[in-house]
């Protein structure tokens, strides 16, 4: 087991999703139990499903000097970066520590592949049209290159792309860089946008629900895909801000797109996160579950929840609000977990009425008011890639 790590301060955080732009919009939607999901109006080829689409991206523009980076994913990144004063907080951290002492860590699953899809749709004589013939739009690191240009960081900058655990794992990566003294701050960014690959890819795997997703419901029918941008700033010190207490990462070693039947990898990630935080399962007040609403994920996670945590621990999936935002899910749900801590609010599990028989008493369907001191967030991805994060209230 890993040893306990010093907690880090999360000195700024923000999210933009189908629920709106910024923390306040998210906290309100959670409190009012207002879902951001709508009938799919995104794909040109009809696909009957619900999506978590961010409004206004089609009209959004980047500043002139960033025009060469224009694509849906970078527009969402730009929109999200400006919310809750995050861009100012990031620039202040860079000024405080020096650009070389700030890492920029990016989590995304598909980055700007939407631009690559567009290039093929609009190809001219078998070639990519000139407007899209920019290598920086067709690389998995496009988001990292864009944000490095915007922010001017000079510390380590790379993309982690481990499917749906991507932007959870950047918290672990940032913590390691700070603990080893390589940087003094880490700007964490997770952005994924709606695109044909994910809508029709998950559809081909028969994992897309025809209706809004119902995590852990006995009659659940699959995921609803969403898009989101989330940002967080990690530093050693910070007054009155929440903490990153621990992280755990593991591999299922089972299958590319199906979780381990006994949730072995998820259990290892959880045990690691608790050990680094120096806590036990009984200390956990709230767990934001991966809870995608696929048959298999929820079956495995419900069992893990029921046999690991005491009945008093509260747990829920927030995907009924936002949809599954894939590579951005880790940081979006980290921000939702921080909001739960800051607002004394256990969000319930939206759209779910009859929980799967495997669920224990921990699963919250309705919202609950409750002080949350310690909370976890689970993120699991294709390739059996798992990450659990542990957060604490302001010290």
């Amino acid at each position: 087991m890993p040893s306990r790590i010093p907690p880090l301060a999360i000195t700024a955080h923000t999210a933009t999703s189908a629920l709106g732009r910024g923390c306040l919009a998210h906290a309100r939607a959670l409190r009012e139990r207002r879902s951001g999901l709508r009938a799919n109006d995104f794909s040109a080829t009809p696909l009957a499903c619900a999506i978590g689409r961010v409004d206004g991206l089609e009209q959004a523009t980047l500043p002139n000097e960033l025009a060469a980076w224009d694509c849906r994913n970078n527009r969402l990144a730009w929109l999200g970066l400006g919310a809750d004063g995050f861009l100012d907080a990031a620039r202040a951290a860079i000024a405080r520590h020096g650009a070389a002492r700030v890492a920029l860590l990016v989590g995304t699953s598909t980055a700007s592949i939407g631009a690559t899809e567009q290039a093929y749709r609009e190809r001219v004589d078998g070639r990519i049209p000139p407007a899209l013939a920019h290598p920086h739009l067709h690389t998995p690191h496009s988001l990292g290159l864009f944000l490095e240009t915007v922010l001017g960081t000079r510390g380590p900058c790379l993309t982690i792309a481990t499917a749906c655990s991507s932007s959870a794992k950047i918290f672990a990566q940032g913590e390691r860089l700070i603990r080893l003294g390589i940087v003094d701050a880490a700007i964490l960014a997770g952005v994924d946008t709606l695109c044909g690959s994910v809508l029709f890819g998950f559809n081909a795997l028969e994992l897309v629900s025809p209706e809004a997703c119902r995590p852990f419901d006995a009659a659940r029918r699959g995921i609803s895909i969403g898009e989101a941008a989330g940002f967080a700033l990690l530093e050693r010190e910070g007054e009155g801000v929440p903490r990153l207490l621990g992280h755990g990462e593991s591999s299922d070693a089972h299958h590319m797109s199906t979780p381990h039947p006994q949730g072995l990898g998820a259990r290892l990630a959880l045990a690691d996160a608790l050990a680094r935080a120096g806590i036990g399962a009984h200390d956990v007040d709230y767990v934001n579950l991966h809870g995608t609403a696929t048959l298999k994920n929820d079956e495995v996670e419900a069992t893990l929840l029921a046999d690991t945590f005491p009945p008093g621990t509260r747990a829920s999936s927030t995907k009924g609000w936002t949809g599954h935002t894939l590579g951005a899910a880790g940081i979006l749900e980290a921000v939702l977990t921080l909001l739960a801590i800051e607002h004394d609010l256990v969000p319930g599990t939206l759209n779910t009425t009859t929980p799967d028989a495997l669920c224990g008493p921990q699963l919250a369907l309705a919202n609950e008011r409750r002080a949350i001191r310690i909370a976890l967030s689970n993120s699991f991805g294709f390739g059996g890639n798992n990450c659990t994060l542990a957060f604490g209230c302001a010290a």
Binding site: T116, R123, R176, G196, S197, G384
Partner: protein, 260 residues
């Protein structure tokens, strides 16, 4: 503050580039001062994948698993115990190309297998399944600096948890529209097992530091991740020690001191 950098010991090296099937072959060439072929095809043949998986798995998976397996075998460490960092500039461009062509014609015919193989961590997924590895697996990308970024990340993980860590970097050549734009003309893979402690299999010791430079594009080693990796391996092959710098961002470089 950590200006001393990160120290890691190289316990094993895997290699598969055009015309060179392992580190021994590459080492002989590099020691003579000959530059390995920078363009061309190479195909991995990983021993740890069962024959049916080897037939079905994408080329990028075969490449990554081949060099990762070589590095582990040389290192004397059990693959199942090693956290791993897989780095690639382009991911599986052949699948990206195929998905985009299908989406442009008939999205409802998208292949489910191709889709789940399209994630950047597909090689890490296949590798951890084949080696029964439950440790953390990472898939990273940093454009032309993907080799530098992956190497540094693996050294960070090895030092942060004091565990030997597997690092593999690779890309595959692809034709078609995307291949033309991105100049995807080389298949290559290189892997290393990096240990925080010197051991019986240690071949060399590296000290890595992230440094600011005025203009990273002026570094002689800027370009593809494969080209950027060669000066370090030439130094390793000669066994004479020295420092090389490779671009890791727009105005940053990874300083690699090879300690003889």
């Amino acid at each position: 503050m950590n200006d001393a950098g990160l120290t890691v010991h190289v316990d094993g090296i895997g290699w598969c580039t055009p015309g060179l099937a392992d580190w021994n072959a590459a080492r002989h060439m590099l020691r003579e001062g000959v530059v390995p072929a920078l363009v061309g095809q190479a195909k991995g043949a990983p021993a740890m994948l069962p024959p049916n998986e080897r037939r079905r798995a994408p080329d990028v998976v075969l490449m990554a698993c081949d060099v990762a397996g070589q590095a582990c075998a040389m290192s004397g460490h059990e693959a199942s115990d090693l956290p791993c960092v897989f780095a690639s500039m382009h991911g599986d461009s052949a699948i990206t190309e195929n998905l985009c062509v299908t989406l442009a014609t008939n999205p409802l015919e998208l292949s489910p297998t191709r889709f789940h193989n399209s994630v950047l961590n597909a090689p890490a997924g296949y590798w951890t399944v084949a080696t029964h590895c439950h440790a953390a697996s990472n898939a990273v990308s940093a454009a032309g600096a993907s080799f530098a970024a992956g190497l540094f990340e693996a050294a960070v993980e090895a030092n942060a948890d004091a565990v030997p860590t597997l690092f593999a970097a690779y890309d595959i050549a692809v034709h078609g529209m995307l291949g033309e734009l991105m100049r995807l003309d080389t298949s290559w893979g290189i892997a290393m097992v990096l240990s925080p402690q010197r051991g019986p299999h240690t071949l060399a010791t590296l000290r890595l530091r992230h440094v600011e430079v005025a203009d990273a594009s002026a570094l002689p080693t800027t370009g593809t991740p494969f080209a950027s990796a060669l000066p370090m391996f030439a130094t390793l092959a000669r066994g004479d020690g020295g420092e090389v710098r490779i671009a890791s961002g727009r105005a940053t470089a990874l300083s690699i001191e090879v300690l003889a």
